[in-house]
């Protein structure tokens, strides 16, 4: 889970989402070292800010 300060938002329609970052060091890649950084986001979830 994650936490987010949303006090600054105006009431009304909006959305929330998360982005995850994966950092993976590949073994046996043929390179001295191979590190892949992959950032992937969720679909936005529509909400109504109260």
């Amino acid at each position: 889970m994650a936490f987010l300060d949303v006090t600054g938002l105006r009431p009304g329609g909006g959305s929330v989402g998360v982005a995850r970052r994966y950092v993976t060091t590949q073994s046996g890649s043929g390179f001295q070292s191979a590190t892949v950084t992959y950032t992937i986001t969720s679909l936005p979830t529509p909400v109504t800010w109260q």
């Binding site: 889970m1 987010l4 043929g30 390179f31 001295q32 191979a34 992959y38 986001t41």
Partner: protein, 173 residues
């Protein structure tokens, strides 16, 4: 109006040239290189079906470019630019693989990367009425990852709130 634009282009060109001039070109086997691809999958359904990729090479911890070897990602040629080797590649669904291929003197060195799962938010739920609190809890279906960055949107008509943070890595579990 044109003068500032031209000046900006000249400044950017000079800046790019400065960055590029300090980068060594190398012609070495893959086994002597560190490769660091960065992929930003920020849209589950991008209009062009592509995602941006930046790849950087290092030799002995020094940023380098390839003098004769080439890089392809899923058979897409990746040219060198001021930020490294950059391209937009066809999006691969979670669980699919991306293949990076370094070819030097006709000899390819490849490795594959499996695309991680896209996080799915479980709370708040769609169309839920959410109280604007200091610590809105966002839950999501999880897999291992290094960090999570929540984001929120308001209607386009709403002005940005100066005191509202939009960046940073909040606590996550």
């Amino acid at each position: 109006m044109m003068v500032p634009r031209i000046a900006m282009i000249m400044v950017l060109s000079a800046w790019t040239g400065c960055l590029d001039s300090g980068v060594s070109s190398v012609d070495v086997p893959a086994s002597q290189l560190t490769i660091e691809p960065t992929i930003i999958d920020a849209d589950a359904a991008p209009p062009d079906g592509m995602v941006p990729v930046v790849v950087q090479f290092f030799q002995a911890n020094k940023y380098v470019k390839l003098s004769s070897a080439t890089l392809t990602i899923d058979n897409v040629a990746v040219p060198y630019g001021s930020m490294g080797y950059t391209a937009r590649i066809p999006m691969v669904s979670s669980g699919g693989v991306i293949t990076f291929t370094y070819t030097r003197a006709g000899v390819p060195t490849s490795f594959t990367y499996r695309v991680p799962p896209r996080p799915t938010i479980t709370s708040p739920t769609a169309n839920e009425v959410v109280v604007r609190s200091v610590n809105l809890m966002i839950s999501y279906a999880s897999a291992s990852g290094q960090g999570v960055r929540p984001w929120r949107r308001t209607p386009r008509s709403a002005p940005p709130a100066a005191s509202s943070p939009t960046t940073g890595w909040p606590s996550s579990t």
